[in-house]
Symmetry: C2
Subunit: 493 residues, 2 copies
């Protein structure tokens, strides 16, 4: 085990550390949204708080995002835009959309406290316009706020819970992640959070009772030690950039062309937690978005798999389509249209296959004789009647495909952008405590954001990453700050 001592996840013994280079009550690893929110709450609770960030500035992967935060249950924006929502409807939707076996306790708390969480963002100075943007699935390209981001208004969720848009984007043009993070990092520093940049956390320090009392990091190639008097909060992202972890735990991700990360999602935080005895969950799950919407008018065509069959309602949230393609259809799907839908939609994609008849298109695509034709015939027959009894696409998007020429866009993993990040991570309580396989909290260790398995469960909804990073980041920061009050670290102070 001598060798293991030098590697990332094997924790160090506190007894072997003679001096600490840095010290704080609460040490937060990573300055993305989860880390910023954790530090804000820790400082607010009176804790001397230090954030360690591997990059030269804060923001993390959150800063690259669209800035959409999943909040609902009746926020002022929802009300102003005429959407009737309550925590129960939000809970019903999330439990249905993120399963199997989503974390009920986290989801319940997230929904019950969501309006309060919105007001907390206002208090931090984040503005939200009281406006709705009708194209779904991702952030507006205006400064409008509210969007449908999880297929709440599409089958089957429109039958499970009353549809309401819950994606809230701060009031700036287009992608708001950079704005959000610039503001939140500044707010954290102004509140009193201390920050150390270009510091790469390596492993945790445990005392003889198994409590986390600090960590070891690297700065300018030198090892430094940091003491955490109350607790360490791991908010250092997922593992989409770690090829070995991806191969072992979520191999489908390797097929995707775009791994969403600002560079830090190498699984280090997850592995540090594992090294200290933390359990991981849902390591095979990943978000996967493909660029089919917006605009939603594209969904007037038909998606088929490699057998020429439909497999989903085309108006589903595009992340749901991407996940279904990647995990259930071998990443091989095609978008079928006719001349009218093509003209209407002015696709940005190159059309890969064309035929004057469906039979010719089918042949061009090398699909078995009749496979595509029977699919489109059945779709057309129902679409003419204004229904889609098989996959339940909304009536407004139903249009028989009858005007030649017919075309197909290859939307397989090797042809279009599949944008992905991992959803698996440490098993935590709603309060952020990292749990062992026995379900016992590891004293002094907390985590939030993509370092944990969160609200998203195994199926993604846009806005949930920033939603649970911010919400459970706050919880983790509070728990770490309160840890001394429990008296469990009294001996090490």
């Amino acid at each position: 085990m001598t060798q293991a001592k030098n590697l990332a996840t094997e924790p160090r013994e506190a007894a072997g550390i003679k001096r600490y280079d840095l010290e704080a009550d609460v040490v937060v690893v990573g300055f993305g949204l989860a880390g910023a929110c954790a530090s804000l709450e820790a400082v607010a609770a009176g804790a001397d708080t230090l954030v360690l960030e591997r990059a030269s500035a804060g923001g993390g992967t959150s800063a690259m995002s669209g800035g959409v935060i999943y909040m609902g249950g009746g926020t002022p924006v929802q009300k102003a835009c005429g959407f009737d929502d309550d925590p129960e409807q939000m809970f019903k939707f999330l439990m249905a959309a993120t399963g199997a076996e989503p974390d009920e306790a986290k989801t319940r708390l997230f929904c019950d406290e969501s309006v309060a969480h919105y007001h907390w963002f206002l208090e931090q100075g984040i503005p939200f316009k009281h406006s709705f943007y009708p194209e779904p699935s991702r952030e507006s390209d205006t400064d409008d706020c509210l969007v449908f981001t999880g297929g709440e208004d599409a089958w089957p969720f429109n039958e499970i819970a009353r549809p309401a848009p819950r994606g809230h984007k701060p009031m700036v043009e287009a992608a708001a992640g950079g704005f959000l993070m610039a503001h939140m990092c500044k707010a954290a520093e102004e509140a009193g959070t201390r920050t150390e940049y270009d510091v790469l956390a390596e492993t945790l320090v445990l005392d003889h009772e198994g409590r986390v009392t600090g960590l070891v990091a690297r700065r300018d190639g030198q090892e430094i030690t940091i003491r955490a008097r109350r607790g360490v909060v791991l908010t250092s992202g997922g593992f989409v950039l770690n090829e070995e972890m991806v191969a072992r735990h979520c191999p489908e991700v390797a097929k995707c062309s775009l791994h969403l990360s600002s560079g830090g999602d190498d699984g280090r935080g997850i592995r540090m937690g594992m090294g200290a005895g933390g359990e991981v969950m849902r390591m095979g799950a990943a978000e996967c978005a493909i660029p089919l919407t917006p605009p939603r008018r594209m969904v007037r065509g038909v998606l088929v798999n490699r057998f020429g069959q439909r497999f989903i309602n085309e108006d589903a949230y595009y992340g749901r389509i991407g996940q279904t393609s990647l995990f259930s259809q071998n990443g091989e799907i095609y978008f079928i249209h006719d001349n009218d839908t093509y003209e209407l939609n002015s696709y940005e994609f190159k059309v890969d296959f064309v035929g004057e008849t469906l039979e010719e298109l089918e042949r061009q695509m090398s699909l078995p004789d009749g496979a595509l034709q029977t699919t489109i015939e059945l779709y057309n027959r129902h679409a003419e009647a204004g229904t889609d009894p098989v996959f339940h696409k909304g009536a407004e998007f139903l249009k028989p495909l009858t005007s030649p020429p017919f075309g197909a866009i290859d939307c397989s993993t090797d042809k279009v952008m599949y944008a992905t990040f991992t959803l698996g991570g440490l098993h935590t309580l709603p309060g952020g405590d990292v749990l062992t396989p026995d379900g016992v909290p590891i004293s002094g260790l907390y985590a939030a954001g993509r370092t944990t398995s969160g609200i998203a469960g195994i199926n993604y909804v846009s806005g949930v990453s920033l939603g649970d990073a911010s919400f459970f980041g706050r919880m983790a920061g509070r728990s770490a700050a309160a840890n001394s009050a429990r008296g469990t670290t009294a001996q090490t102070r």
Copy 2:
């Protein structure tokens, strides 16, 4: 953490243990096939070996099995029956059938050494008849040996590797697991393995260097301590009986009616390994067999999903059909037949829906208008020509469904038996060493069988459980016995 000290996975410190109730060079946890083979090799290497078994007799879940062991590459049985096989074909098949990202090093070794492994079984006194049994997927109901157990002769594998049957059943009538285990446990004891029954292993003992030097167990409600001078081998099964682990890691398993276990698969061995710092892999994977074959003549009908679509070649290995149903089709599938196929097949199942026409059957099944009809029309059109260009069912099973009445058997999870066990577990080297998340072996800790993530990867093949339990059980036993030679445990001896 005081509380955690009393739970299963938190390891104990060797320094705190004053006396040991039992002691051996190698301590094996669990007396199923992996444990029996590990102990045989450890004894053969000169190690004083002790097996701890929680039940009152050996055998474990292996004794409940059909007794089929996956071996190939040109065994005497394969040769006698006229099947041409070699390690490369076996490797190609397993890599394709068990992915994504199967363990290449383990698979390579397993295939290269498979003929030698067969001869080792002969040396232990296990007889195999030189005969082939033509019905695939599971053990013969005679004393015949060789069966196709993974769809080697069905699409797509018949195009990837030269098909050969590799399921080898010991020469007894019908299920041979009981015979196999009675014999192997006896062989182990006669070779010199000591056994302690009714002993439930609880947690591992680690010394101050992080080496595994023993374990703590329970007998008659009393805690006992066991010293392992060279190593501990965990071979105590999977986690199919642990409801919490199933909910967290593999929730689909909860839908299945039959959890295959002799009672010990509560995940304890996996959790003991995790507690000592071991990484787990593929925790979301499970075997899932449904009773569609044998006999294979049943496959002359057509399987459809809840959208009335075909989704697999009906002559695929029944475990592949079960896994596809459970993980990709929401566990909702139907078997469609006409009067001729029904008469021919004398199904043991009750027919759930009947119609004089396909239209009527479709309506009875509450499928959307045209969904089933178009599927069967396309199938029939191709079947009349003797082909199945969509799903590639073998020509000998193609028969148009045209003779009324038509019927459907509901093969959903809540209607027929889905027999399942978990495939995820500890990450180990081919030699059995349990690895940390950094890929570093934990000194003195080895594992094999369903306690590990093995050859099966995420997709099952019948016979692979006994195949890799026996083969890698042997490797782990050898590694543990050789551990003193490395000198790493010298201080504790």
